[in-house]
């Protein structure tokens, strides 16, 4: 039979740093909370644990220690956890439907905290769908959670702090990095230094990554981007060329790298599926990574009872997410009438200072990952933009020529964003393409949130049932 509902005070979707602290905070103040995540354990992408069976390092990194600390806190909090559960449905009020290893579950609570993190933006180029070309975030997961190199030789390209994190991880893992290709200039990075000193520990880690790369003699190409990747007999042939500050290709010498793997990422976009499905008000914010739910300082959205926290509320990094989740946990319990305002104020004050400091660092990094419009302008017309449905830029442009003024029209006319990924991969780029033709992101809009949030089989949702048990509604009068 289909799942019967289990009730809680607060539901948390997402087991990254924001979701964990939201759940532990609610528990600490006596609330009943359930946390749902599709991975085997908590940690999110940044604090992903090694799978069972993998040897633990005798010298864990600061990131591994932080992840273990968060996981321990969650495990001992008494929160109900649903790992390996894919959330496919959210409904007002709130009800969350998920499918896990033992079938469908349905959870309900008057408060819902969405801590769904981000997805990666990759600006399409010819050949970006070739197997062996993967996201930068994907490469961090391979290195951290699978102890695997993306290739024997890898080209690392795109923008933001993941570039040097991934490249240094590959070098330390014994792999070869052909080059690091950064859209930004060295000067842009230096310009961020004043904000970065707010977290000297993270700044020092970045410096260590850079020295690893220097010691390995990895070439750094600033103000460059991938033009094309071709599959050849000897591997992937990546063509790299110079770009301007806005990301537009510039004339100048191109170079070729023959590698067996390319990892590329152009920043992170907030995963706003849950708040979009629940029809919260959103606004476009370039530095926060795209469309985000409008929130107050405690994550409250325009939908009463719905909170959005962490990177899903705007890219600010894992360190900030941890404090943000706790603040929202306090707010959710207070809004339920379960927590006195003096307690909330006392704790929020303590968290607020840490949150500000961490967010300052995170937003400086987010600024390095903001979409550069001219890089989207330069996508060649015959390049696939929507991977799920094989939709090219030319088809999107044709839809706009035919009168589409908004991304959902483009979706309906071309199937762009209609495939199994629900537009998570292409959504931000399609919106930018449309925005450049119709007069801005606010006009172009965003893909309306639709269920299911993840592809699930009908069988998994319905479970085993007896035909006679299906209720037949009374027929409408003739």
């Amino acid at each position: 039979m289909t799942a019967s509902e289990r009730g809680f005070d607060v539901l948390v979707i997402g087991g990254g740093p924001a979701g964990i602290t939201a759940a532990t905070t609610v528990r600490r103040h006596g609330g009943r909370v359930a946390l749902i995540d599709e991975n085997v354990d908590a940690g999110g992408q940044v604090y992903r644990p090694l799978p069972p069976g993998f040897p633990r390092s005798s010298k864990p990194t600061s990131e591994q220690r932080a992840g273990d600390r968060l996981r321990d806190a969650l495990a001992s909090s008494g929160a109900d956890t649903f790992f390996e559960h894919k959330v496919w449905g959210v409904a007002p009020g709130f009800r969350v439907d998920a499918v896990g290893p033992h079938g469908a579950v349905a959870l309900s609570a008057p408060r819902l905290i969405a801590a769904t993190g981000t997805s990666e933006r990759v600006i399409p180029f010819p050949g970006w769908t070739t197997p062996g070309v993967i996201g930068l975030a994907a490469a961090t997961i391979l290195l951290k959670a699978q102890r695997m190199l993306p290739g024997r030789s890898t080209l690392v390209a795109g923008c933001g702090p993941l570039l040097i994190a991934v490249a240094a991880g590959i070098v330390k893992g014994g792999g070869r990095v052909a080059a690091v290709i950064d859209v930004a200039s060295r000067g842009e990075w230096l310009g961020r230094l004043p904000a970065l000193v707010s977290r000297p520990d993270l700044l020092a880690r970045g410096a260590r990554w850079m020295s690893t790369l220097r010691a390995a003699g990895v070439p750094m190409l600033w103000r460059h981007a991938i033009r094309e990747v071709r599959e050849t007999a000897s591997g992937l042939d990546a063509v790299v060329g110079p770009v301007g500050p806005d990301g537009a290709p510039r004339s100048g010498e191109t170079c070729h790298f023959t590698v067996d793997s390319v990892t590329v990422g152009n920043g992170l976009t907030p995963a706003s599926d849950v708040s979009r499905v629940l029809r919260a008000k959103h606004r476009y914010d370039l530095v926060k990574g795209g469309w985000v739910a409008e929130t107050d300082g405690s994550g409250r959205t325009s939908v009463p009872g719905l909170y959005v926290v962490g990177d899903g509320a705007g890219i600010a990094g894992a360190a900030a997410a941890e404090h943000h989740g706790a603040v929202a946990g306090l707010a959710a319990l207070h809004d339920l009438g379960r927590l006195d305002i003096t307690v909330v104020r006392r704790e929020a004050e303590r968290l607020g200072a840490k949150l500000d400091r961490a967010a300052r660092f995170g937003r400086a990094m987010a600024g390095m990952m903001a979409i550069r419009g001219a890089q989207v302008t330069a996508i060649p017309t015959d390049t696939l933009v929507c991977r799920c449905e094989d939709v090219t830029r030319a088809e999107i442009e044709q839809a706009i020529d035919d009168g589409a003024r908004e991304v959902n029209q483009v979706k309906a006319w071309t199937r762009c964003g209609m495939g199994p990924c629900q537009g998570r991969t292409c959504g931000d780029v399609v919106a930018e393409i449309v925005a450049q033709r119709v007069g801005g992101r606010e006009v172009a809009g965003y893909f309306t949130g639709r269920l299911p949030l993840r592809p699930v089989s009908l069988q998994a949702v319905t479970g085993d049932y007896v035909y006679a048990d299906i209720p037949i509604p009374k027929a409408a009068p003739l």
């Binding site: 069976g53 197997p131 993967i134 699978q146 102890r147 094989d390 998570r424 991969t425």
Partner: protein, 111 residues
């Protein structure tokens, strides 16, 4: 020390040189991909085990029929979808298990 590097043919998992600290990995696991035996280590995701065995194409795209494989590694993009016992699932989120019969995820490719 058990190591998958000792396997002798191209179905072996060790030849790739992609595993970091391979020698100290967990128990060996073997499964089938499109009928071809693949050896992996416990704890690895199917997409990763296949990449280590030199298999990166997991399906063909629905319209263009172009090769596709692992891309986001976090269950978002759905590019690495494969079929296990008739069930479609993301190979980046599904751990290897002994005896799994994994097929490519091309739609219309049901054997």
């Amino acid at each position: 020390m058990s190591s998958v590097a000792a396997t002798d043919d191209d179905a072996g998992a060790g030849a790739s040189g992609l595993r970091i600290g391979e020698a100290s990995r967990g128990r060996q696991v073997s499964f089938l991909f499109d009928g071809r035996p693949v050896v992996a280590c416990e704890g690895e995701m199917i997409a990763c085990a296949l990449a280590c065995a030199g298999i990166r194409t997991l399906r063909a795209s629905p319209r263009g029929g172009a090769p596709r494989g692992m891309f986001c590694m976090m269950g978002s993009c759905q590019e690495c979808v494969v079929r296990i016992d008739g069930r479609m699932t993301t190979a980046c989120q599904e751990p290897v298990r002994d005896g799994l019969d994994v097929r490519g995820g091309t739609i219309g490719n049901i054997p």
